[in-house]
């Protein structure tokens, strides 16, 4: 029987520094991974933390990590050639099939872009597989913007609104919350849309409210939840909401089910 709690050592191939607080670590990993899935990343002595996959390539997975806690602080002290322990992938992830042939809108707040980045990437590389693809990504300020290189690529292939909550005077580019840009979205067929919304709970709440105002059916909306998770295996109980285990049944939910998940 496999012992799922035993992590494997993984070497850091590359580190991309987006901001002072957010780095992306390219870690060695062989196996199938879907965007939206997560790994338990750990360093002995500091513990484990669930981190979503922000990129998937041959032989590596990317983790975009925000320095906010015990584990992540320690992770930031490690660089190329060093190793972390990882185990996973866990969770359901995003099903690309759900968004093919649709007018797709991805709305992400801050590091919320990480789990959904694989989906954006896919449709930026396969523009013919969706009717249209729009990304609305919000960051706190210009210095908090992540994935700058990816944005440059995406802007060439899909419609991108990259906004900041607040900016110093003279800043050129969209300013304001992501919700500000939702009413202006135009669609050929509102029934044939797909929305993915990922970010902090408060951002998801207000974003979904705006999306529903457009007349979008609830079943066209997907959200991803974040919770404390100690095991990622449906055992430790910390991520449970009602009868749902976020680690097993999620973290990605269609809004029809996701709206029932109340704490």
């Amino acid at each position: 029987m496999k012992n799922e709690y035993i992590p494997q050592l993984s070497t850091i191939r590359e580190v991309i520094r987006h901001t002072d607080l957010e780095y992306t670590f390219l870690m060695e990993f062989e196996g199938d991974v879907k965007p939206g899935q997560f790994f338990e990343v750990s360093i002995p002595k500091y513990g484990e933390a669930p981190i979503s996959v922000s990129g998937i390539s041959e032989g590596t997975v990317d983790f975009t990590i925000r320095r906010v806690g015990k584990v992540t602080n320690e992770i930031f002290e490690n660089y190329v050639g060093d190793q972390f322990f990882i185990r996973g992938p866990y969770g359901n992830g995003f099903e690309i099939e759900n968004y093919k042939g649709k007018e797709l809108v991805v709305i992400a707040g801050g590091t919320g872009l990480s789990p959904v980045k694989g989906v954006v990437d896919y449709f930026a590389r396969h523009t013919d597989e969706a009717v249209s693809t729009t990304l609305i990504a919000g960051f706190k300020s210009p210095k908090d913007v992540l994935f700058r290189e990816d944005f440059a690529f995406w802007k060439e292939h899909i419609s991108v609104i990259q906004t900041v909550d607040a900016a110093p005077e003279g800043y050129e580019g969209p300013v304001g919350m992501v919700t500000k840009y939702i009413p202006d979205l135009k669609f050929n067929d509102i029934q044939n849309t797909a929305f993915i919304c990922v970010g902090p709970p408060i951002m998801i709440k207000f974003t979904v409210m705006e999306i529903l105002k457009l007349g979008v059916p609830e079943k066209n909306i997907w959200i991803s939840h974040e919770r404390k998770m100690c095991c990622g295996l449906g055992k430790c109980g910390h991520c449970k909401i009602g009868s749902t285990y976020i680690c097993l049944d999620g973290p990605v939910f269609n809004y029809v089910d996701g709206k029932e998940l109340l704490d």
């Binding site: 496999k2 002995p44 513990g47 806690g69 322990f85 709970p201 055992k235 009602g242």
Partner: protein, 337 residues
Amino acid sequence: MGYQLTKTKAEQMFQKLSVTCDIFAPKLMEGEGCFSDTDIIRYGKVHSLDEIVWDKKSDYSFKEALLAINETLFYFTEDTTTVPKGPKKDILIFLRACDLHAVKRLDEIYLKNGFEDFYYARVREKAKFILMGCKETCKSGFCVSMGTNRAENYDAYLKVESDTVLLDVKCECMEQMLREAADGEEAVVCDVTPDYVTENQEKVTLPKQLSNESFGKDIWKEYGDRCIGCGRCNFVCPTCTCFTMQDIFYKDNPKAGERRRVWASCQVDGYTDMAGGLSFRKTQGERMRFKVMHKIYDYEKRFGYPMCVGCGRCDDVCPEYISYSNCINRLAKEENE
């Protein structure tokens, strides 16, 4: 098959068994209660039938015998991990009907809900359950209401009646163990039926219409005002399964350490805290609601039967005298108003 044997013979066999097996049963731990000069009945290894407390309910459940309060998952030494060895001996656990029903709940989470848990599975594989009958009801239990007053799936049933011991053995390997312990002496075969209660003092009616709408009930706020979030109800509960991970490092060798899992409580601060400061269910009322709905609604929605087995330990242990069974009855009553 049912057997009757003398207490002396049974005791001899028991002591032999206690060499080849680890036998866990409720026993009196003198002076180890929460308050000074108080005793506690909890599970520990026993070597004699006389060590077992037969006439009272244990304060803590049998759960400790299958899931340690803190358990080392593996040891770290720089870049290697080593898993500690599992139990070598078979494990015999004496428990009552309600608790035997709780084993099904533990199995549901640890063996079925998602991946099979390596550590639980290797202990569970070694475990056999010996039912202790209930001649009369305990004060706070409501097993009859929960349908957990009778259990059929025991490996053996054992009852001590003054100088006689009655046994009903259901599993072949237990029969084998007993034969070996009996040293060729034949036991008297007879019919043995486990004692069980058909009525409790405490009766519970489960509410039938719980839903997300129930979140707004005043009752949660009321209990929340009384609850101090100590988590004792979770720790005595035979069906609570939550744990938190902990990394420990040795002072004399900071390069070596271990990762443990430790029982956790959904009532205690920090249970939902995420790095970065986000947390959910911040009030005790919300936590009480979460726990009660889990035990009688959410778990059932997922697995098809209620989680609570009606042992009543949470009511016995609450320092604020919060009665969970009364809370359930009030929820049911409110539905009829």
